[in-house]
Amino acid sequence: MSTLAALARAEAAAAGRAVPVATVRHLHVHERPLVLIPLAMAGEANAPLAAMVGCHPADPALLVVAQPRNRDQRFAFAAALGDLLCAYVEAHAAVAEPVAVDRGRDVRYRFAGAPQLWVPNPGGIEFLRLFGRYTRFRSEGHPAVPLLGRWLTFFASAAEVPGSALLVTAVQALSLHWATGQSSAEDAHLGSQLAWIESGAAAPRAAECGPPAGPATDPSFDNDVLAPLIESGAAGETAAVLREHLTPIWEQMWRTLDRLRGLPAGARVGSRWDADRDAFSAFVRHLADGGPPQPRRDGAVAAAARLHHLEAAAARYAVQRAFDDPLVMAEHRLTGAAFAAEVVLAQPDRIDESGRRPVLRPRILVRADEPVRVEPGAALTSPARPAQKATVVGITPAGAGRTDVLLELSGGMGRRLVAEAASVPAVGERLVLTTLSETFRPIAVFPDPAETPWTHGGPPAT
């Protein structure tokens, strides 16, 4: 927890109302998302009890397993959910667009859209992951069952990638943008967290008494309501009770979506969604090519590659959020990874002629009135000009807690020896400079699985 985020919680607690922790939306919100609220049967290994699912607030489909221990009913549920989910997903695989690759020398295609699933909380993702594991290897029965399993596995694995918006939880999406005046443990209850945002501190305690947003049900609901219904075999009544149970959560999900749509999207949200569309397109191709279901466990090489991918995505996501949002950048300013300063001197036409060829290297002197914790030689970037590198040449105290930083600029000024208009910060301009960088990091190269080194278990047995 950063001090800034903790302070926001304290402010919310004192104000009796949630406060923003973001000034822009850091997440793509689909115009037609699929909301899915799974409920599981207590005690069983991920046995579905019900799901409310749909892409329109007024039209939820309710799937119920009236006898959750009955295997046939469980598969009927999987088939029904599979039909619904596959129809939704496949609707996004209709229109493709060309994307230039390899500096325009080649072209590849990706779908113009991608599906987006919303579940209430991380428990919902875990339920889908395990249900995907349960169904993806089935070969008998309805063909939608193994396909559902493979899609659920795809979504659950995408949800682990920082910044991906293919499978999103309402609880995490809200806490990315608002701080409540309660603990994060209490925020895990969707109704309670949303009440802080919508109505203020008096409402959450009442909301806590409402149904938890699954997948686990309340023990007293199990004992007093559900158990008698399951024993008596009254399927119609069970469905009615579960509909009543799920409806408030369904409404909370759509209210969450509305809230988030009310925020302006961050500048880099679109490029992350592009990456999601790439991942979706690649998986559609994998299915079309008759690729195998995802393995139970990744092999050593696949696991290492995945870890590398997740780490790179996490780093990129952290930088992009800071560049998109001054409130996120403020956290980096507090820890010294960024500072704000005003340009006091500028030499925009400075040419460095020490090399083989003259190059444009303007210098600016900025004055910061907050602590500067960078060293000479450090490469800084400003979110206003992400393509431009500013190298620290010198740091001098300027009295009264101020610091002068001399910077040499390169990049983002056009190809000529005269900088393009407004590409060099002018005197009087206020800048935020940070050690965070969006520079592309090379993708690590991993061996072929057949070449797995002995340190990692050697090549897998075939």
């Binding site: 927890m1 950063s2 001090t3 800034l4 985020a5 903790a6 302070l7 926001a8 919680r9 304290a10 402010e11 607690a13 004192a14 923003p20 000034t23 049967m41 207590a42 005690g43 069983e44 290994a45 991920n46 395990l130 594991r133 349960y134 005046g181 309660q182 603990s183 994060s184 443990a185 209490e186 049900t217 309340d218 023990p219 007293s220 199990d222 004992n223 559900l226 158990a227 139970r296 466990r297 949002d325 001054p326 409130l327 950048m329 403020a330 300013r333 507090l334 704000a340 907050e370």
Partner: protein
């Protein structure tokens, strides 16, 4: 039991400690309130309800039924399935002793039989419904492990039967760690017993066997868990808890949690024993709703990490005063109810104040656009 303890409980019957409550105690060892109430055997759910802060700590019938069915399946036919899962080699005669059903009046007898069995020649045996004792905060507590497997080479192992699923070798982390702490409680109790019998405590293995259903079936599978880490945490925290005995030996005159008392008197009595509320209590302690209410306005109520990030300052009001510069330095800089296990603060008070002022300035600037 000492008379002061009985007095604390009033006319109610005592609630028994078990591995689960001991594990919960170690989750928040600094909470004197929980330690005292548990040591006195106070019925916390009833107390919480009486003072108007009921919690929902029931267990689902479905979960209980599955747990019972799984255990019964393992123990059927003289533990046939369990032997298979534990990998008892064919030909090894593994005796099976069931010490009888769980009931209050069999406690002493079962404990005597457990001791007798463990003192006997170390043959191969499985002991069902054993009864162990452990000293917690100055009191003897009876504990009932699922099973003690007594292996041929004389090593004693605790077997913990749980009904959560192990899918592709992975299970819910929170459930596994809860099971590990519970098993560590049993290992500690067994080691105490073995030592008392004059044997080497290393005879009790620090590796426990966790038996769970595999994947999405009821087919059992066994995995070994090393509980050394849990054991050392447990030992350390049980020592800490001993200091609570002092409170119990000399409770303030008239302190009573008798359920017959009016709620206002009970609330007053609770106020006399300090709590250390943290949001984690909400899933572990039946009295947590009351403590949360009492902790309103403190940074501890927002979570340990929030409190630490705010420099350990105790109240929200003080944090905001410091952040706004209405106050120069914090006077409540003494470690508050949850300033970390060792009472350490993350920052010196003035650093904390400066950091808060900087944070407030940056936040205001960013929000102003």
């Amino acid at each position: 039991m000492t008379p002061p303890l009985d007095r604390l409980r009033g006319t109610a019957r005592p609630k028994r400690h078990n591995a689960r409550t001991i594990a919960a105690l170690t989750g928040n060892p600094g909470c004197s309130r929980r330690a005292v109430l548990d040591a006195a055997g106070v019925d916390k759910p009833a107390l919480a309800e009486r003072i108007g802060f009921p919690g929902s700590f029931g267990q689902s019938r479905f979960a209980l039924a599955r747990g019972t069915a799984f255990e019964a399946m393992l123990k059927a036919d003289g533990c046939a399935l369990l032997r298979e899962v534990l990998g008892v080699p064919a030909g090894v005669e593994l005796g099976y002793e069931d010490l009888g059903a769980d009931a209050d009046h069999t406690l002493v007898e079962r404990h005597r039989r457990t001791e007798e069995l463990l003192a006997g020649t170390p043959g191969a045996a499985m002991v069902d419904h054993p009864l162990l004792t452990l000293e917690v905060a100055g009191q003897q507590v009876f504990l009932e492990p699922d099973l003690i497997a007594y292996q041929a080479e004389g090593r004693i192992r605790v077997v913990e039967i749980k009904s959560f699923a192990l899918v592709d070798g992975q299970a819910d982390g929170a459930k596994v760690s809860a099971a590990a702490v519970q098993a560590a409680v049993y290992v500690l109790a067994l080691r105490t017993l073995v030592r008392r019998l004059g044997a080497d405590e290393a005879r009790v293995s620090h590796e426990i066997v966790l038996v769970c259903p595999e994947n999405f079936t009821l087919r059992p599978t066994a995995v070994m868990l090393d509980v050394r880490k849990q054991l050392s945490t447990l030992r350390r925290q049980l020592i800490r808890l001993r200091s609570v005995t002092e409170v119990i030996d000399a409770p303030p005159a008239g302190l009573s949690f008798d359920p017959e008392l009016p709620p206002s008197a009970l609330i007053q009595a609770l106020g006399a024993v300090g709590a250390r509320y943290a949001p984690e209590c909400l899933s572990a302690c039946e009295l947590s709703m009351f403590c949360r209410h009492e902790a309103a306005g403190t940074t501890a109520a927002l979570g340990r990490s929030v409190r630490e990030a705010l420099g350990g300052i105790a109240t929200v009001a003080e944090v905001l005063d410091l952040a706004a510069g209405r106050r120069e330095s914090c006077d409540s800089s003494a470690p508050g109810p949850s300033a970390g296990a060792s009472g350490q603060r993350v920052d010196a008070p003035d650093d904390a104040a400066a950091l808060l002022r900087a944070a407030a300035r940056l936040r205001a600037e960013a929000l102003a656009g």
